[in-house]
């Protein structure tokens, strides 16, 4: 039985064993092998490949970042253990992996630690070359400039050191705003110290003034700068700086002591005594405070001793100075006679020990110097106030002679006499 028939679509004979015509099947086959289908599969393949590659890349980057961190930590541990050579190798390895895997700031930190390890192992040339490379990449990077400045300073390359220090001060620190102020100030101070070491005092003082301007509003920092100014022989600027510190922190011990010292150097005994008294009081209060570590601080103790000494001198000066304004003639005479007695007591003791000749006072001063008692001498001097200055002049000369032959005075009263004399001689 012939069951084949004609396809109504294409007119061809459909063989008996086939259910449908080939023309009806062809599109399906063609569809499967058509370009569009293959392109669709390509797109699907791309999606899968992207997913796979993304996963692999993530694993890869994570692993490299982990390696960078672990090698860096290992390097630090080696450095702490004193194995600088091993640390160097570890840091190098860390840097290989850190490149392109860690944030730029972290990479720079690794690089700087590596440089410091190089310096610690005596590879300054290599460190410098590495830093120069970093500098070429980021000329404004303050940390790099600072390290370069230190190396240049160590190598005695003055121009480079100053250039890089300035680059560090005015460059970019990758830190918070407060930390940047601190770093900038520290760098200023480092440059100042460098300049002082090189005995370039004028430049150093200028640097200190710049430091003061850049100091963040922190009493301790202002006090630190003030102390440096004091050390650099700038008591007036130091006083300004201490006063700035005291405006922010009125009970800052360093600022009080520094301000007292500055006033003391400036010869303002009254102000000096006021600041120094406050400093002593503040120190005592701080010591009483629970958990205070001040009792153990040797530096603070030394400082406190100096504060006490200067306070005593300032107070003695205030008590002995016959030229202080607002005094009646009797008080002036009393102070002058007390100064004479104090000086004579020292010079006699000094002359007995060292065998020096005593100065002889002017004949006009005899009524005061040879009086039977101090009261008589005071009364006589009060009557002849024109002899006050010659008497005080003799006192200063005698005290100076004693200091010259027997060393600086230990008694604050003698020191005060010297101060008063110096001031009187200096001031017109």
């Amino acid at each position: 039985m012939n069951s084949s028939h004609i396809c109504s679509k294409c007119g061809r004979t459909i063989p008996a064993e086939r259910l449908v015509c080939r023309c009806a099947e062809r599109p399906r086959q063609y569809w499967l092998h058509s370009r569009e289908t293959i392109l669709l599969f390509c797109v699907l393949g791309l999606v899968v490949a992207f997913g796979f590659t993304g996963f692999a890349a993530r694993l890869y980057h994570d692993r490299r970042a982990d390696l960078a961190r672990s090698w860096f930590d290992r390097g630090n541990a080696e450095l702490k253990a004193g194995r600088a050579d091993a640390a160097l190798s570890d840091f190098r390895t860390a840097l290989v992996y850190a490149q392109r895997e860690l944030p730029l700031e972290q990479q720079q930190r690794y690089e700087l630690d590596f440089v410091q390890a190089l310096i610690a192992t005596g590879n300054s040339d290599q460190a410098r070359s590495y830093l120069l490379d970093m500098w070429e990449r980021a000329p404004g990077n303050s940390a790099v400039n600072l390290e370069l400045a230190r190396i240049a300073a160590r190598m005695g390359n003055d121009a480079d050191a100053k250039r890089y220090y300035n680059g560090a001060i005015y460059g970019v620190w990758d830190e918070s705003a407060d930390a940047v102020l601190l770093r900038r100030m520290d760098t200023h101070l480092e440059l100042y110290c460098y300049l002082m070491d090189r005995r370039e005092k004028a430049e150093a003082q200028a640097e200190l003034l710049a430091t003061a301007a850049a100091t963040p509003p922190d009493p301790a920092l202002h006090a630190e700068v003030g102390q440096l100014m004091l050390d650099a022989g700038q008591p007036q600027q130091a006083l300004d700086e201490f006063q700035r510190a005291l405006r922010i922190g009125p009970r800052n011990y360093e600022a009080l002591a520094g301000a007292g010292e500055a006033e003391f150097q400036l010869g303002n005994d009254q102000q000096a005594a006021r600041y120094l008294e406050n400093a002593v009081r503040e120190n005592a209060q701080q010591k009483r405070r629970p958990g205070s570590q001040l009792g153990n601080s040797a530096a603070r103790e030394t400082e406190q001793a100096q504060v006490m000494q200067h306070l005593a001198i300032a107070e003695a000066s205030l008590a002995l100075n016959p030229h202080a304004p607002g005094l009646d003639p009797m008080e002036r005479a009393r102070r002058a006679v007390r100064a004479y007695d104090t000086t004579m007591a020292r010079i006699r003791s000094c002359a007995a020990k060292h065998g020096i000749a005593l100065l002889t006072p002017n004949r006009n001063l005899a009524p005061f110097t040879r009086a039977a008692s101090d009261d008589l001498a005071v009364a006589a001097l009060a009557r002849h106030t024109e002899q006050l200055d010659p008497l005080m002049d003799f006192v200063f000369k005698t005290e100076s002679a004693a200091t010259e032959n027997c060393g600086p005075p230990s008694d604050p009263a003698n020191a005060a006499i010297l101060r008063i004399g110096g001031k009187t001689l200096v001031s017109p």
Binding site: L39, V96, E136
Partner: protein
């Protein structure tokens, strides 16, 4: 015997519709007689058929809507190829690094035993895999891509891609002195070839698709699309073809985008900023060109010599050659680990002045040695990275010397290293255009162009003068293939119309002349064919007898323009090629050669004989020069 029962005699349950082959008597087009059971079945079948038809029609319509011209498909495909190639290269780079980490550990100073043994043992495994499983992965990817284009109609078996991926990751990861760019190029070409074939592109398109993939692979490997495009045009395709340029660029860009997406946008090297200290510094770059040219020569000659000797060894030695190469490289690597693998980190270090000049020189020459033994041993991998390494070291060494002797003149050391890379690229790989653009692209600094051009040109000239055949062509010929040399192709003299044309002597008629006038002047010439010029710059020709016939036919007073047929002669210009002239010639006995500014001004005539004469003269001159 009874007849088998017809379908109408069977119960519907015993013959389900799904069984297609056992339905000889069921007619889907018509129902012969009324049978409720059968009619139900048939109508169900017809319904299914209609659904099927509808689905097929819909899909056909969708396909028609989606279908595109082959040109457009080619461009779309080039983007897809670029994406696939980029992904493959990303995975390849990751694989290399993972292999290195697994084999040598994560430290930069692995133990001496490991440094020596790992490349040697990996070499044994490599030899086995290459010889037994993936024999096609031996050799240069550039050469194989060229073979695919010029010999195999764009066919690159996909197992080559897999083989290259695996073996090169092992070879480079185990410290063989080879680079990942060449395999990346071939992987890209292989992917492109597979996709092109799968999409049933025409043979011409499949042939062109391999370079498209090659550009994508190389671009992703270098992270530099322009250089990759130029290299493929310069070394693989050989000509600037507008038809393929767009596809090559698209694929290269797509691959680089993928690469940057996964491995970061940073360039291959962190190049320090460049500025020229003084114009006389260019002299140093000229010196670098000379040194780079000589180094290229040493590299080529050594590679050729060692390869020739390695080929003479018995076949069994192929199984141990990569291991021996690994042993040599490992031994060098104990003291100079920088020469192992691709060496990008060391190039970066050299660029940033982290090596002394003695170390730089030692590294350059040890890398020449290591790369030579690696390539000659048959270990799969590329020569690009080693070439850049050697160039970088030579450049940095010259820069260091310059810093030492003329510190006031020297620019940055990184610039010297970078220019050195380009120099070796020009001198050794003999791709001068690519070398210049690669340096520009990697440095991102246009101002470096002058030193690059000077140095590269010198190295290229030295390379050409003392080693006529470029390295890729040498390797191709050693493999017994006769592929076209792109360099020779570039330097072939193109003969122009002006080399063949002769002066326009004889009678030239004007279209405004009357037929009688023209006939009266026919006695002045012996030529049968005469040129006729129009005021519009059009030219045509006329036969003597045609003119005489026209005169005889009473058209003597008519101008020639009315008598002559409307056709026109093609015009030539002196600067056009003879190839074009031949195409235009057809059956014309000669063609007018006219001035470009005034096409009425005839500057010469060109006939077929003139063209043949010109070619003959050129071949005589060339053979004389060769002799």
């Amino acid at each position: 015997m009874s007849e088998p029962p017809g379908p109408t005699e069977k119960s519907p349950e015993s013959e389900p519709w799904s069984a297609q082959s056992n339905k000889p008597d069921v007619k889907t087009e018509e129902v012969p007689e009324w049978n409720p059971a059968l009619v139900g079945k048939a109508s169900k079948g017809a319904f299914a058929e209609r659904i099927k038809d509808a689905v097929l029609d819909a899909s056909e319509r969708a396909r028609a809507a989606l279908s595109m011209r082959e040109d457009n498909l080619f461009l779309l495909l080039s983007v897809i190829i670029g994406l696939f190639a980029g992904l493959a290269v990303v995975c390849f780079r990751i694989s290399i690094d993972y292999t290195r980490l697994e084999l040598f550990g994560s430290g930069i100073n692995p133990s001496a035993a490991r440094v020596v043994l790992v490349p040697a043992l990996a070499g044994l495994l490599l030899a086995f895999v290459v010889l037994r499983i993936f024999p096609r992965v031996r050799g240069s990817g550039v050469t194989q891509t060229k073979s695919a284009v010029y010999i195999y109609d764009g066919y690159i078996p996909f197992d080559t891609v897999i083989g290259k991926f695996l073996t090169c990751a092992l070879a480079i990861g185990s410290g063989q002195s080879l680079g990942p760019e060449d395999p990346s190029l071939q992987m890209g070409a292989g992917i492109a070839s597979a996709l092109g074939r799968r999409l049933h592109l025409s043979r011409e398109r499949v042939r062109l698709i391999a370079p498209v993939g090659a550009a994508a692979g190389l671009a992703a490997a270098f992270n530099a699309p322009i250089s990759a495009v130029l290299f493929v045009i310069e070394e693989v395709i050989g000509t600037w073809s507008a038809g393929i340029l767009g596809a090559v660029v698209l694929s290269a860009v797509a691959a680089v985008v993928v690469m940057r997406l996964f491995l970061g946008a940073e360039p291959l090297f962190t190049v320090p900023p460049y500025s020229m200290a003084h114009a006389t510094e260019l002299l140093s770059y000229a010196v670098l060109g000379v040194v780079g040219g000589i180094t290229s020569l040493i590299f080529v000659k050594l590679l050729r010599w060692v390869r020739a000797r390695a080929r003479r060894l018995p076949r069994w030695s192929l199984y141990i050659q990569p291991a021996l190469a690994g042993l040599i490289i490992g031994s060098i690597g104990i003291r100079f680990p920088q020469i192992m693998g691709a060496g990008y980190d060391s190039m970066d270090q050299a660029m940033h002045g982290q090596f002394l000049w003695r170390t730089l020189v030692a590294l350059a020459f040890l890398k020449v040695l290591a790369t030579t033994v690696s390539i000659s041993s048959g270990a799969p991998g590329g020569m690009f990275a080693p070439t850049l390494f050697i160039g970088g070291m030579v450049g940095a060494a010259v820069g260091t010397a310059q810093h030492q002797f003329f510190p006031s003149l020297s620019g940055s050391l990184g610039a010297y290293a970078l220019v050195g890379m380009g120099t070796l690229f020009a001198g050794f790989l003999r791709a001068p255009m690519t070398s210049v653009f690669m340096v520009l692209e990697v440095s991102g600094n246009y101002s470096i162009i002058l030193p690059v051009i000077i140095s590269n040109a010198i190295a290229y000239v030295i390379g050409r003068r003392f080693q006529e055949t470029p390295i890729f062509d040498l390797m191709t010929r050693e493999e017994g293939l006769d592929l076209p040399s792109m360099e020779e192709g570039r330097e072939q003299t193109v003969l122009l119309v002006e080399n063949a044309m002769r002066k326009p002597v004889g009678l030239i008629l004007k279209a405004s002349d009357s037929v009688a006038d023209a006939c009266s002047r026919l006695a002045d010439t012996t030529d049968d064919e005469l040129l006729v010029s129009y005021n519009t710059g059009r030219w045509t020709r006329v036969n003597k007898s045609t003119l005489q016939d026209a005169a005889r036919g009473g058209k003597g007073r008519q101008p020639l323009s009315q008598v002559l047929p409307s056709g026109r002669l093609p015009r030539l210009h002196p600067d056009q090629s003879l190839d074009l002239a031949l195409r235009l010639m057809r059956d014309a006995p000669f063609l007018p050669v006219v001035h470009r500014a005034d096409s009425r001004h005839l500057v010469g005539l060109l006939s077929l004989d003139d063209i043949l004469d010109a070619y003959r003269r050129a071949s005589i001159l060339k053979s004389g020069a060769v002799e």
